[in-house]
């Protein structure tokens, strides 16, 4: 299944500066794996050391949060859009 993944601004630096890209995957987990295989650096920004999605990063299929679907196992349909939505706070320099 070809699906579109929208990369948020803070993570574009780790994804070849792309706003969105297409991957072939049957589930959300597969789509994110395909993404992190292509962009190794992205992995630590998406997953904690225990392999779970980080709690300040949410993943949506179309407009639905995968935490309320079947999480990583959420099935994809041709043309679905996956959005990665990390929390952003504002302008303060850290």
């Amino acid at each position: 299944m070809a699906v579109k993944v929208i990369i948020p601004t803070p993570l574009r630096a780790y994804a070849g500066k792309q706003e969105s890209l297409e991957v072939e995957a049957a589930t959300v987990g597969e789509a994110l794996s395909a993404l992190t295989r292509r962009f190794g650096e992205l992995k630590k920004h998406l997953y904690a050391d225990d392999g779970r999605l980080r709690s300040f990063v949410n993943v949506y299929v179309n407009d639905e949060d995968i935490r309320y679907l079947e999480k990583d196992q959420t099935h994809l349909r041709e043309g679905d859009t996956i959005s990665i939505v990390p929390s952003i706070a504002g302008g303060r320099r850290h």
Binding site: T9, S55, F56, D65, S83, S87, A89, G91, R92, H94
Partner: protein
């Protein structure tokens, strides 16, 4: 999702039936001739009390539009002073305000814009100790802050007090807007149970914000606030609006109340305000996130200048981004930190190397990395190009 909105009428609002003066009728006439607002809506605005946390990029358009619209009482919370870097986006302030407390400049501007309203000033940092007392008097809280600890503090305080929290946040070209804390609706912790650890927050190299972005996001927050007060339309309750100024797109995602939310869920474990700096992994405001800056060998700006003047053979390595190099540079060789690992072969480990960035943080990481890679004659320029400007060459611009 059609959520019936509106703020609960306070006892004071129920008994007082204020009317608009002749001047106010004239001032608000473009509201009054719209049936969706009308006299009833305008009186609701006049009786409304809204607290703005932060008077920066988001607070500026919020303050301006809420004051102009006739929100009867506007509270402002900020502890900062206006500086030159604010003027690119914080349109409440002018050049003559630089150095003034933001709250004073903002309140003066809003009172001038609309003398009919009351502006309350809280010149303080919002803390776990004062938040409930400050928020308690207001109907709606608007979050225009710029950091995670304050956002979690505002969220928890709003949930504990049962007040809507009109949320907006920005990063570079992108914004997120929603309404948290509305009775029955989700809160910030339903969306993001925890903040990012400080090390993963984008560094200053990737930061920055398009000047107009907080204007767009702040005016959307203002629109939501006005809708909540007047009780019209569908508020962004249970919807997260994402805005991207580069592609110029808006997308709305569903936002659900998490039954297991630690603060607004069925069995809340957070029942009072906590230490939010600790929660966000930050100990002390100025403490660097990693200890790298203090553990790598350093060279002070004046010492570097003296050695360069002596004609010592030093290789200056600038690990900032190309667009930063264009702002100012020390004529060093540019290899951005993110490219260092694959371009390390461009460096000669037999030469003495001084690495620098803007403030010394990224170059400390570079020095640590290169030391691990076997480089021994390498130093970090203490305080970066900012310190160089302060201590050696004031003609180098700071940014």
């Amino acid at each position: 999702m059609a959520t019936k909105i509106g703020i609960p009428a306070t006892p004071a609002a129920a008994k007082a039936a204020p009317a608009l003066s002749k001047d106010e009728v004239l001032r608000y006439s473009r509201h009054l001739i719209m049936p969706e607002v009308g006299m009833q809506g305008q009186l609701k605005l006049k009786q409304a009390k809204v607290l703005l946390v932060g008077t920066g990029g988001l607070g500026a358009p919020l303050g301006l539009y809420l004051a102009a619209a006739g929100v009867g009482r506007i509270g402002l919370v900020d502890f900062d002073t206006v500086d030159y870097t604010n003027l690119q986006r914080q349109v409440l302030f002018g050049t003559s305000d630089v150095g003034r407390p933001k709250i004073e400049a903002a309140a003066g501007h809003l009172r001038n814009l609309n003398p009919e309203i009351q502006v309350d000033q809280f010149e303080t940092r919002l803390t776990s100790e004062n938040a409930l007392d400050i928020l308690r008097d207001y109907d709606i809280v608007v979050d225009g802050t710029d950091n995670f600890p304050t956002r979690y503090l505002v969220n928890d305080a709003c949930v504990l007090l049962g007040k809507p929290n009109v949320y907006g946040s920005i990063f570079r070209f992108e914004g997120q807007i929603t309404v948290f804390g509305y009775p029955g609706g989700p809160c910030y912790r339903c969306l993001y149970p925890e903040p990012p650890p400080p090390g993963l927050v984008p560094s200053c190299a990737e930061g920055g914000v398009l000047g107009v972005l907080p204007g767009i996001v702040g005016t959307i927050q203002a629109a939501e606030t006005l809708k909540l007060i007047i009780g019209v339309g569908e508020a962004l309750i249970g919807r997260l609006l994402l805005f991207d100024a580069l592609s110029m797109t808006f997308r709305a995602l569903k936002l659900r109340k998490n039954p297991e939310c630690p603060v607004c869920g069925e069995h809340p474990v957070v029942t009072k305000l906590i230490d939010y700096a600790e929660f966000c992994g930050i100990r002390g405001e100025e403490t660097p996130v990693s200890d790298t800056t203090t553990t790598v060998p350093e060279i002070a700006p004046r010492e570097l200048k003296a050695r360069l003047d002596r004609g010592d053979d030093l290789f200056i390595l600038d690990v900032r981004e190309p667009h930063e190099y264009q702002i100012c540079n020390l004529e060093g060789t540019l290899i951005p930190l993110g490219e260092l690992s694959r371009r390390v072969n461009e460096l000669d480990s037999s030469r003495e190397i001084v690495a620098h960035c803007r403030s010394g943080k990224r170059s400390a990481e570079a020095v640590e990395f290169l030391r691990k890679a076997g480089f021994r004659k390498i130093w970090n320029l203490k305080g970066g190009i900012l310190a160089w400007s302060d201590e050696v060459d004031p003609s180098v611009p700071k940014y």
